[in-house]
């Protein structure tokens, strides 16, 4: 009995964990939907949920690499605040003098500036960890204090507002979405891309004469992926823009408000598009590049990695540089969403990011973790928090529940690993 169950779990492999997480997420959603009287699983709420998740999820993908190599980064929340303030001051106080106020290039230059700054700060922290061998916990605990203080110093604590109008679209407000047509196009393209990848991989494996999944299994996986992507696009396209905002948008484009009562819809939010791009990039990096392979090898056995000729010090620098750059991307989303940059930006985010990665199956002992797991982890955390807020759970109880769920998730993960013999 035990044996058959064990082989069942191990034959499911990594998919077993993924299925469990998706199951947990759906259970949460259905429960909250029930307790809020059907207000949770609505286009409006899922739109907000996906936008709220994006910033933490982007950082969680980077945190996977950090934790897989047995490091930790406690500085990401403060760093998000610092980079957010720097980008705010840069686009409001500096760039307009250079290129002229409201210039079309402001948002792009600001983003590049932020990402380069994040990469540079991350590299520096990685260099201290890798080459000076100061433990990551200490370096990033220092960074946690330094960058929060730095964020205050940028403008002596003053909030920077309003941010550039195009920049603000990256935060996903009423206009910061793809709109109806583009959402359908993106959904279709993403589905086609996913199917192509699935079948190319199958073809490659067959060409080498390896065992492949039965064809019906492949078809079902493809069908599920397609349904989720198209379903999400359809759901977002079912979220109508409020009449007054729609009128403003039509007028700004010099168009007449349609007389037949049809109205604009939100569609997929731009922060979600950014998250999708980051997720694809990070998954590809983890699975198909030497760098990704070395990250996991070093996490599994640092000594073996070094004996294989891997420069683990330089690897640490690169991992933290990547984490810094992703923190900048998250800072773009978070400050654009607020429409301003203030000192509080990213406060406590380091804990949300670490929790998301860990709930998503990243082991603090190193060597194990997935990008999609971390993103799901972020989504579960955010669902839990906004769900409880909607139900009307007291704030102190909310944090108690989140804390207990975190511990429970890691315990379940440990049991899963033990059963799977990993």
């Amino acid at each position: 009995m035990t044996k058959s169950r064990q082989s069942y779990i191990s034959s499911l492999g990594i998919d077993g964990r993924l299925l469990g997480m998706i199951g947990a997420l759906l259970a949460l959603w259905i429960m909250f939907d029930f307790f809020t009287g059907g207000r949770f699983i609505t286009p409006r709420n899922l739109f907000n949920l996906s936008v709220q998740t994006a910033s933490v999820a982007v950082m969680a993908t980077g945190m996977v690499f950090v934790i897989v190599t047995r490091n930790i980064d406690l500085s990401v929340g403060s760093l998000l605040g610092f980079i957010g303030m720097m980008m705010g001051a840069f686009q409001v106080h500096f760039l307009p003098d250079l290129v002229g106020g409201g210039h079309w290039s402001i948002w792009m230059i600001t983003c590049v500036f932020g990402i380069v700054l994040g990469g540079a700060i991350g590299s520096f922290q990685g260099w201290v960890i890798g080459y000076l061998t100061v433990p990551a916990f200490i370096v990033t605990l220092g960074g946690f204090l330094v960058w929060r203080g730095g964020a205050w110093w940028v403008t002596s604590g003053q909030t920077v507002a309003p941010l550039d109008t195009v920049f603000k679209l990256l935060g996903g407000g009423v206009e910061g979405t793809l709109g109806e047509t583009m959402s359908w196009v993106l959904g279709a393209l993403a589905t086609i891309a996913a199917l192509c990848l699935l079948f190319l991989s199958r073809k490659r494996k067959k060409a080498h004469g390896f065992l492949v999944k039965p064809f019906w299994a492949e078809i079902s996986v493809a069908a599920i992926i397609g349904t989720v992507i198209i379903g999400y696009a359809a759901f977002m396209n079912a979220y109508p823009v409020p009449a007054r905002a729609a009128k403003r948008i039509y007028e700004s484009k010099g168009m007449e408000v349609p007389a037949d009562g049809s109205t604009l819809v939100y569609g997929i939010a731009i922060p979600v598009v950014i998250l999708l791009v980051v997720a694809f990039f990070m998954t590809f990096t983890a699975k198909r590049t030497k760098f990704g392979r070395y990250v996991f090898a070093t996490g599994g056995n640092p000594e073996a990695a070094e004996l294989s000729g891997i420069n683990t010090k330089m690897l640490t620098v690169k991992i933290f540089a990547l984490m810094g750059a992703l923190t900048a991307v998250a800072a773009i989303i978070a400050s654009a969403r607020l429409g301003s940059a203030d000192n509080n930006l990213g406060n406590l985010d380091e804990l949300r990011v670490i929790a998301a990665a860990v709930i998503g199956g990243t082991a603090l002992t190193g060597g194990f973790g997935t990008i999609h797991g971390a993103i799901l982890g972020a989504l579960i955390m955010q669902s839990l928090q906004s769900g409880m807020a909607m139900v009307g759970v007291d704030a102190p109880l909310q944090s108690i529940v989140v804390g207990v769920v975190l511990m429970l998730a890691v315990y379940v993960d440990i049991v899963y690993r033990r059963r799977a013999g990993l």
Partner: protein
């Protein structure tokens, strides 16, 4: 045999940790198609000596010659470029990765676009495993799920696959059962016949007497001596290891 250039010469090697001389002016050499055993107690310095050859440690002094030419070995990558491969006692496997990823670690096969080609690596791993260990089947499981013998064959495959000329084996049979030990012994004979030079580090005098052509004994970081296996008895070797005493030879 005597007048040919040795495959490897380590001359006057020195390395100290803190004030302790782990390797103290030691010279050894190795010819093509030869197995040289390195014997000594724990802490005698044999692993330290050999890690200077494999690039894991950098020497404080002395020089390494490969095929008569001075070799600059500062890291494992350098050692690999001289076709020096090492099978470590700990096996040095990343437990979370599968056999193919471990076999090619640091030397991944890439697609024309420059990305890691897992399928090609698995195909190559299947090929070499069918020669080394035909029973090996778990190609997609992490190596933590493998038995001691299977893990050992992954570590051996890694050394053999890349056309090693010089092979270092650090206690290759320490964790193995009798059948798997036999497998390793047969492999050593096969590699030797292919002209590969092998340094075999071992605790087991019997192993060394069976498999090696010559044996070098170390004690307290110093070389006691190097003898041809057929010239000495087990007791002579034991005396070298324990007492640090060279066997008394008839003047020739």
């Amino acid at each position: 045999m005597e007048n040919q250039t040795p495959l490897v010469e380590m001359r006057d090697m020195q390395l100290a940790f803190g004030g302790i001389k782990a390797v103290d002016h030691v010279s050894i050499d190795l010819n093509a198609g030869e197995v040289v055993g390195l014997l000594g107690h724990n802490g005698a310095g044999k692993s330290t000596l050999i890690k200077m050859l494999s690039g894991a440690y950098q020497s404080d002094g002395g020089e390494i010659l490969v095929s008569g030419e001075v070799a600059e070995i500062n890291n494992p990558r350098d050692a690999r470029s001289y076709n020096i491969e090492t099978i470590y006692q700990t096996l040095a496997l990343a437990d979370n990765l599968d056999a193919g990823s471990n076999l090619f670690l640091g030397r991944e096969l890439l697609t024309p676009m420059g990305f890691v080609d897992d399928d090609a690596m698995e195909a190559e791993t299947r090929k070499i495993m069918s020669r080394l260990n035909p029973n090996f089947q778990k190609f997609s499981a992490p190596v933590s799920a493998l038995s001691g013998g299977q893990r050992q064959s992954v570590a051996i495959a890694r050394a053999v696959y890349f056309n090693a000329k010089i092979l270092i084996m650090d206690e290759p049979t320490a964790a193995l059962g009798p059948q798997e030990t036999q497998m390793v012994a047969e492999l050593i004979q096969k590699l030797k016949a292919d002209g590969i030079g092998i340094f075999l580090i071992s605790h087991d005098i019997q192993d060394v007497m069976d498999l090696c052509d010559r044996v070098s004994v170390m004690k307290n970081g110093k070389l006691v001596g190097t003898e041809r296996v057929e010239d000495v008895t087990d007791d002579d070797i034991l005396a070298m290891i324990i007492l640090g005493k060279n066997p008394t030879k008839e003047p020739s």
